[in-house]
């Protein structure tokens, strides 16, 4: 792992490094009433396994859209994406869902916990969807790791924003994904709580060697990542 990180400084990845995310000519256009709007234009880049990458840009520059495309949450107008060697858009919706369940974890600005489920159940959800047997034990272990061992039975409404985001982090790591996508994970948190969550994210990233792709407009946060991909008006600047 360390070996990979040492090669970061010039931003170029030696060919020998395993590539976990590869985007090629990724483009997203939407039709608006008067014209075609291009939100992401020809994004081409790679992310190596174990790397942490910040996607940075002004608000409205297309960061979330790009992230959505990388995770297969949306379909590009043109271009291709490979995750761990599998071509994302060669598969159908359910194929992409399965791939996400297997390889990818998410943390969102707005937490996106299911209000109907307790903290424990929220973390169990991806494990159960993947059909894993010891979902409950694994979920409570991960919740313990994010410091919520005593809040297992609480519903999202009974948790503070920071706690909810920690549950979301636990949920993201519960399946031990190779890849974690985070879209402005601190956007809805005050700076102290945000910092805590970030510590947690990076700690878990380090411990598990998870690749982290993080969207943020927070410069300080971006600096903590191994590498940054800047986007401006939908164009990725290398």
């Amino acid at each position: 792992m360390n070996a990979i990180r040492e090669t970061q400084d010039d931003g170029a990845l030696p060919a020998v490094q395993p590539v976990i995310v590869r985007a090629e000519g990724l483009t997203k256009q939407v039709s608006t009433p008067d014209h075609e709007l291009t939100i992401v234009r020809g994004a081409t880049f790679q992310v190596a396994a174990g790397e942490s990458v910040a996607i940075v840009g002004a608000s409205g520059s297309g960061k979330s859209t790009l992230l959505g495309l990388l995770a297969g949450l949306d379909v590009p107008t043109a271009g291709r994406v490979w995750i761990d060697g599998e071509e994302l858009f060669a598969q159908d919706e359910d194929g992409r869902a399965r791939l996400r369940g297997r390889l990818v974890g998410f943390v969102f600005q707005s937490f996106q916990l299911l209000p109907a489920l307790t903290a424990l159940e929220n973390v169990m959800l991806p494990l159960e969807l993947a059909g894993l047997a010891d979902a409950s034990a694994r979920a409570s272990r991960v919740l313990g790791q994010v410091g919520l061992a005593d809040r297992l039975g609480h519903y999202p409404r009974q948790l503070s924003g920071g706690e909810q985001q920690r549950v979301a982090v636990a949920r993201a790591f519960a399946t031990e994904p190779k890849l974690l996508f985070a879209d402005e994970p601190t956007g809805n948190l005050d700076s102290a709580t945000g910092a805590q969550v970030i510590e947690l994210l990076f700690a878990m990233n380090r411990e598990r060697g998870t690749t982290l792709v993080l969207v943020t407009h927070d410069e300080a946060l971006a600096r903590r990542c191994d590498r940054r991909i800047a986007i401006s008006a939908g164009v990725v600047e290398a």
Binding site: L73, A116, L125
Partner: protein
């Protein structure tokens, strides 16, 4: 199966948090309504059948022109059925004051199996229910014999070789009241004395009956087993085989109850569809998140479908229990209303309720489920990404299809089911088209409207789809309520009125041709309306076309029985106003080729078509003529009616007697005696007992229907609630935003008001049009009473719609106006 635990877990919280409560409540009320109707209708139907059985004296009667063979008795015993036997024959009876022809009925101890005779107390006191039947050595006699032969209580009369003591005077005999042509007065005696009379001999005109009663299933088994064994001269009659009046009442009863439950089913579907949709909208973000976490579309579908199914199971169980309770309460309330104890309800309505609940849930939650399945994953990043709505008409096709099947099933009558279905479909189609046009039209008006009204109308248009759903759902709900309150009363009143107070209650028969002017004059003298007298010739049907007619040529028991007997043929020049031609044409009075007009029911039973030639044997003379028309006859009008009427000139040369029916006001019973004194050959038959029965049945039915309709109104209210709350979240959120932007309370109320008022008025229009249309169909087609437009219906529809929805809507969205904006926004976040 991995999805079930997830679904269970989600449901626990969803149900707790209240999202599913509306759905469960809708389902609960729906199933409660359906099962209450089911259980109660089951019991009422049972009671009605029992009461109708009273008229028959048993559940089933084996009738024979020779002693009923042993196997019939043995099989009844084997099935655990109670039996009683009767032997009837005409005979002269003699008392101290004279002799008279009487209709003797010798009965076994168990007679009657169903119902009770009523007899007058000592010295003709108030009549009372009789205990069983006459003891050996005694007779009970019909009223006319008391004075005619001197057969008052305590006196002795001779029946054949036996001398028997009169123990009571019969005032009501349950099993004979429909036999108009049972001319002679009744003498009821004990079977044990039969041998002593010496009257039952070879060649005497005796009818033997075996009355059978007991558990309905055993009776049905018995019926099925014994019918094939019937030999010549034997037949089996159940309540459905005989007595057109009772059958008509029963069928009408079942239609009414069928109709009542049908409305509950429709309302249930609307409520379930609305609730399920709201549920699914609340689950949208969760579904997107689950997609994000790797759930396949099938998983999303299953997780949510499981929740609906679990909810449905709970709702059905609770609803069924409530339905059972409600019908028990209802039965309590009806205590003393039926002359028989209400039988316990069967288990079938419970299954029916469960099936209906499940079918409704699956049929009407499918579109929302499909919608959830299609939730774009991108929603986790952008909450404004719209969810592709499945084309609602196509998606609801399954629901509508199952609902249609349910309606037909519930109606238990294909014709009624199909008719209601067509009515609903047409009404909904028109409603949807009209609703759409009206919403668009109203929205166009908004440019001219002032502030809040403009927003309200803009909202209406922006939500065209959901507005349309609301207009239609509310329209159906209000339509049901209109039908249940105004139209129902209207129809029932009219239906009851169609049984006029001066309905004939006596038949006078056996009037001779030369007495006609005298009888008419005498009626006038007595202050009675001039009677319509109809000629009657008894004849046997020998051939239809070139097919000879014999009982053996028919499978159908009723048909066999009909052709076994002599028909009462009549002739007429003109079509009576209370008969209606349904095929062919009535003869031209001046035409001289002989023709027949046949009643449509018997034509169907005997397979007679217009154009067939009927050959008759009247007193040894044969003649034939063509059938040129089929007639519809109202049997329950208690007027003399005939299966077969001939054109003038065909029957006149045969010996005929005349028959009439008339209304004898109560208190003038002495008229009958005077009439019979004056024309001794004339017999007068009292119909009041059977009319009382029929009227009681119809009263009971309308009471039952009224109660059942109360339930449907409750279901309608749930629909109203579900429809209004279906857009509540959206409204609360918008309200909060408007508040934040500085809208005043008044502006917000007006905005909401204008939208609800518009929706309510549109729904009212839809409802009124639908109710009027359905009432028209129901009254003309089902009840057979002409429909009169009642302007109160549309006015009430618009009022109920406009005012009701506006008030209910404002109450329902009070939260949108009253809560602090931030709280409202956060509560939904």
């Amino acid at each position: 199966m991995k999805n079930l635990p997830i679904a269970l877990r989600m449901l626990r919280r969803n149900a707790h948090a209240g999202e599913a409560r509306v759905l469960a409540a809708a389902l609960f009320v729906a199933v409660a309504a359906v099962t209450t109707v089911g259980f109660f209708a089951d019991r009422v139907r049972g009671a009605l059948d029992q009461q109708a059985n009273e008229l028959l004296g048993g559940d089933l009667v084996v009738i024979s022109d020779h002693p009923v063979p042993r196997p019939f008795v043995e099989r009844a015993a084997a099935e655990g059925l109670a039996t009683a036997s009767t032997t009837t024959f005409p005979s002269m009876v003699a008392g101290s004051a004279g002799t008279s022809l009487a209709e003797i009925k010798a009965v076994s101890r168990a007679f009657p199996l169903r119902g009770r005779l009523r007899v007058a107390g000592p010295a003709a006191g108030a009549d009372r229910e009789a205990e069983g039947s006459p003891a050996p050595g005694t007779v009970w006699v019909a009223g006319p014999l008391v004075s005619r032969i001197g057969a008052a209580e305590g006196q002795a009369i001779r029946v054949g070789n036996a001398t028997l003591a009169v123990a009571a005077v019969i005032t009501r005999e349950p099993d004979s009241v429909l036999d108009y042509f049972g001319i002679a007065p009744r003498v009821l005696m004990n079977e044990a004395d039969l041998a002593a009379t010496g009257l039952v001999q070879v060649g005497s005109r005796v009818t033997w009956r075996l009355l059978v009663a007991g558990d309905a299933k055993a009776v049905a088994r018995y019926d099925e087993a014994m019918r094939p064994l019937l030999a010549r001269g034997e037949r089996i009659e159940g309540v459905r085989d005989s007595r057109s009046e009772v059958r008509v009442s029963l069928e009408r009863a079942q239609r009414f109850l069928g109709l009542a439950s049908l409305l509950s089913v429709v309302l249930a579907s609307v409520a379930v569809a609305l609730a399920a949709r709201r549920f699914s909208i609340r689950q949208t973000d969760g579904a997107a998140m689950m997609r994000c976490l790797g759930a396949a579309q099938a998983d999303i579908f299953a997780i949510n479908a499981w929740q609906f199914v679990l909810l449905a199971a709970a709702g059905c169980a609770a609803g069924t229990a409530a339905g059972y309770g409600a019908q028990a309460v209802l039965a309590q309330w009806l205590t003393g209303f039926f002359s028989v104890a209400l039988p316990a309800p069967g288990w079938r309505p419970a299954v029916q309720g469960a099936v209906i609940g499940m079918v409704l849930v699956l049929g009407f939650t499918l579109p929302p489920l499909l919608r959830l399945r299609n939730v774009p994953t991108l929603r986790v990043l952008r909450s404004d990404v719209a969810v592709a709505e499945p084309s609602s008409l196509v998606a609801y096709a399954l629901g509508l299809g199952t609902l249609s099947a349910l309606i037909v099933w519930q109606a238990g009558d294909l014709r009624l089911g199909a008719m209601s279905l067509g009515g609903f479909a047409a009404a909904l189609g028109v409603a949807a088209a009209a609703g759409y046009a009206l919403i668009r039209g109203l929205a166009r008006l908004r440019a001219g409207a002032s502030g809040p009204w403009r927003y309200g109308l803009a909202n209406l248009r922006r939500r065209t789809g959901s507005s349309l759903v609301q207009v239609m759902a509310l329209g159906v709900g209000i339509m049901a309520m209109l039908l249940l309150t105004l139209v129902r009363t209207d129809l029932i009143v009219k239906w009851q009125k169609s049984m006029p107070a001066d309905m004939p209650n006596r038949f006078a028969i056996n009037i001779q041709g030369d007495q006609l002017p005298l009888v008419k004059a005498y009626f006038a003298e007595l202050g009675l309306a001039t009677p319509d007298l109809y000629p009657m010739v008894r004849g046997r049907l020998v051939a239809i076309g070139d097919r000879p007619v014999s009982p053996a040529s028919y499978e159908d028991q009723r048909a066999r029985r009909l052709v076994e007997r002599e028909f009462n043929l009549s002739w007429a020049r003109d079509l009576r106003p209370d008969n209606r031609i349904v095929a062919g044409a009535w003869w031209n009075p001046r035409a001289d080729d002989p023709q027949f007009s046949v009643e449509e029911g018997i034509a169907k039973t005997l397979s007679i078509r217009v154009g067939d030639t009927l050959a008759w044997d009247v007193g040894g003379t044969r003649f034939s003529a063509r059938v040129t028309s089929l007639r519809k006859v109202e049997w329950d009008s208690f007027k003399a009616n005939f299966f077969v009427i001939a054109s003038p000139g065909l029957l006149e040369r045969h010996p005929a007697s005349w028959i009439t029916s008339f209304h004898l006001p109560s208190g003038r019973e002495e008229v009958v005696n005077r009439l019979v004194e004056r024309f001794p050959n004339v017999s007068v038959i009292d119909l009041t007992a059977i009319m009382g029965q029929v009227k009681r049945i119809s009263d009971q039915v309308s009471r039952a229907v009224e109660f059942v309709f109360l339930f449907a109104i409750a279901a309608g209210l749930v629909v109203l609630f579900a429809a209004i709350t279906s857009t509540q979240d959206e409204r609360v959120f918008e309200g909060a935003v408007m508040r934040t932007l500085g809208a005043s309370r008044r502006q917000m109320v007006l905005t909401q008001l204008s939208e609800f008022l518009a929706i309510g008025l549109l729904a009212g229009m839809v409802a009124a049009a639908g109710a009027v249309g359905l009432a028209l169909v129901l009254s003309e087609r089902v009840l057979g009473v002409p429909y009169e437009f009642n302007w109160v219906v549309p006015v009430a529809g618009l009022l109920a719609g406009g005012a009701g929805v506006a008030i209910a809507g404002l109450l329902g969205t009070r939260r949108a106006v009253d809560s602090p904006p931030l709280a409202a926004i956060r509560a939904l976040g």
